[in-house]
Symmetry: C2
Subunit: 426 residues, 2 copies
Amino acid sequence: MKLSAFGRKFTRNSGILRLMDDLGSAISAGSGKMLMLGGGNPAHIPEVQKYFRTRMESILANGKEFEQTIGDYDGPQGENGFIEVLAELLRKEYGWKIGPENIALTNGSQTAFFFLFNMFAGKGSYGGSRIRRKILFPLAPEYIGYADMGLSDDFFAARKPGIEMLGSQIFKYHVDFSNLKVSGEIGAICVSRPTNPTGNVLTDDEIMNLSDIAGSHDIPLIIDNAYGTPFPNIIFTDAKPIWNENIVMCMSLSKLGLPGLRTGIVIANRKIISSISAMNAIFSLAPGGFGVSLAYDIVASGKIISISRDIIRPFYQAKAETAVSHIQREFKDCGCCIHKPEGALFLWLWFKGLPISSMELYERLKKRGVLIVPGNYFFPGMDGSWKHRNECIRLTYAQDDGVVRKGISIMADEVRKIRRTGNKSR
Amino acid sequence: MKLSAFGRKFTRNSGILRLMDDLGSAISAGSGKMLMLGGGNPAHIPEVQKYFRTRMESILANGKEFEQTIGDYDGPQGENGFIEVLAELLRKEYGWKIGPENIALTNGSQTAFFFLFNMFAGKGSYGGSRIRRKILFPLAPEYIGYADMGLSDDFFAARKPGIEMLGSQIFKYHVDFSNLKVSGEIGAICVSRPTNPTGNVLTDDEIMNLSDIAGSHDIPLIIDNAYGTPFPNIIFTDAKPIWNENIVMCMSLSKLGLPGLRTGIVIANRKIISSISAMNAIFSLAPGGFGVSLAYDIVASGKIISISRDIIRPFYQAKAETAVSHIQREFKDCGCCIHKPEGALFLWLWFKGLPISSMELYERLKKRGVLIVPGNYFFPGMDGSWKHRNECIRLTYAQDDGVVRKGISIMADEVRKIRRTGNKSR
């Protein structure tokens, strides 16, 4: 099979392929076969699912609504009705100065990032000299799914975080603003908030600061808000939903409970939105309409905000606390620091001084029936060697507490063994 | 807004954006506002919709099936259960030597073509010298949606068809095999069957011939089977479903009646399928699972074949015949040739010697409330001037017969006026 450069680049094994393969196999194998602490599948929250079931029933009961939803293409910007009620909700609740011209839908948020990254970085003339620009991650580690998205090589730049210890077993990363040089080779700044994989939540001030820095360089700040506020609002700190004409806010219905329906939402100035629409048409004709149809009424009524705040957030916060207490108990004697859990579905664990790499730890745990994600995948754009990168793992606590507990137990056992025996095999 | 080369290329106006914009506006404006003879939205066929409604009801009634379908990511290859029953159906019915490892799903067929085209063409070393390869369309005109998909410029090559007159008002294109030189710069051959926009159906012999030619150059033959056999089977001639290890068969659930659910299906050798999975993971995490869930039972039972043959095909064939008779009556005195309608949802009309371009005709008709697609968009990869390219239009007959009839009437009136007065405005 003779492949183009594109073909070679994008069909080799990527971190995100491994993660999604693991996830798919674990889900289709059925519960119990694998302890799934790896991928980002959201929990099935009964109260939330009830809303979607009721909505589904009312779509079926409402004349031809079902037939229209499955049977018609939407336009390349996405379903108008949903876009209108979402714009109205965000305008009314948060005073954002937006209208339907500021929102586009995509087949999942991942696809939106492919569009956005490649329109703002890579080869180009950028209104003058022919240069190559990069996407800057001001706070590494960042999302594994970004790593392979650049159409050209050397596509990302990332900055090391400041590390603050908050007690013996808890630490927190900070944006190191003193080291955040933004040169002409940066095409956009991107952060996930909460950060995937660490669960760090950038403060309102940090976001405004990043937005100002981006604005002063005439480049956008892209915020990956897949777990963020106002929905699904898996944030355990105070964080305001922030948007302005220079912020590209990427949201998703996945973590609200609809990952099977692949619905991404981009909120940005109208030029960017019309660009997203144009790319939707070329690469996928139109985004799917079923996800937004299932979410329509809770957006129109504004209930999506209270569901997120009163059901989804407390659900995950309780699970995070339970998982943290399992870890603190199980790892008492074998060195495991937890990034302060401020949001998202993940815990980021740091095994300082572990004699094997997180990649090897992943392989060993997989053999014992526990799936986690090795941390080295979460440093796209970071050059040089930094031991820390191979000492961390990402763990999902979204699944059943019993699964999480058992997985943590096995992990602690394995880490204890490794620390005791050193790395004999290496 | 400073854009990369990618950003500039893919956010400018494309034919497919115009078409999908027109389609979206017409659908959301509601029926009656615009006579929609433009886009490729399939008809709502009540008997078919009934299957999907019944299936939806049974998903809701079957324990947690609804919650799992919306609430879980599939793996990057797509939903295993559907892939298995589809492989079994094609093995059993047509003797294709395939298993689950030969099928991958995508978020719509358009996305599959983006993957396939760019993995087989564009810049690369192709196992040796650094060259640039192209996708070859052996029978222009070809689908408008291909035109903008290449990540590099000069991405397509196309060959002029042979034109055969079958009476005074009917003509047919043929692959001109005598002119089908395949050089080392060709990375794959691609045909749509039925051809979008013309409704031409390549014979089994033509397909085998193309497959042999591709095989002899060690490149794949990609068949866009979105309207083809065995489903949705909108083909009015005899045509066998043909697959071999060198054919990449791209199918879709859209024209079966599920365009809102964005489900593409790729059937190919296992190397290509694992490449598609890898690209799914990177560009969209996973394909959506709702479309295949709605189609699961008719694939598992094999009923999808009889539904296509006994309901969908006759439905469109009757509409095609009605539309043709409207056109032959309305255009009696003003020169309109119809490509022999052998399948798909379209008629391809040739206004020989029209004093204005099809693009201008499109604009004039839009002002009169009739949407069609100007033919010039359907010649990706064809260099040089060829008057024929600007003399044709594509018309969809999938919508209500009253709409089609009225649209044709207005079009005939406009063409008559143009032919009578010449092109005064030019």
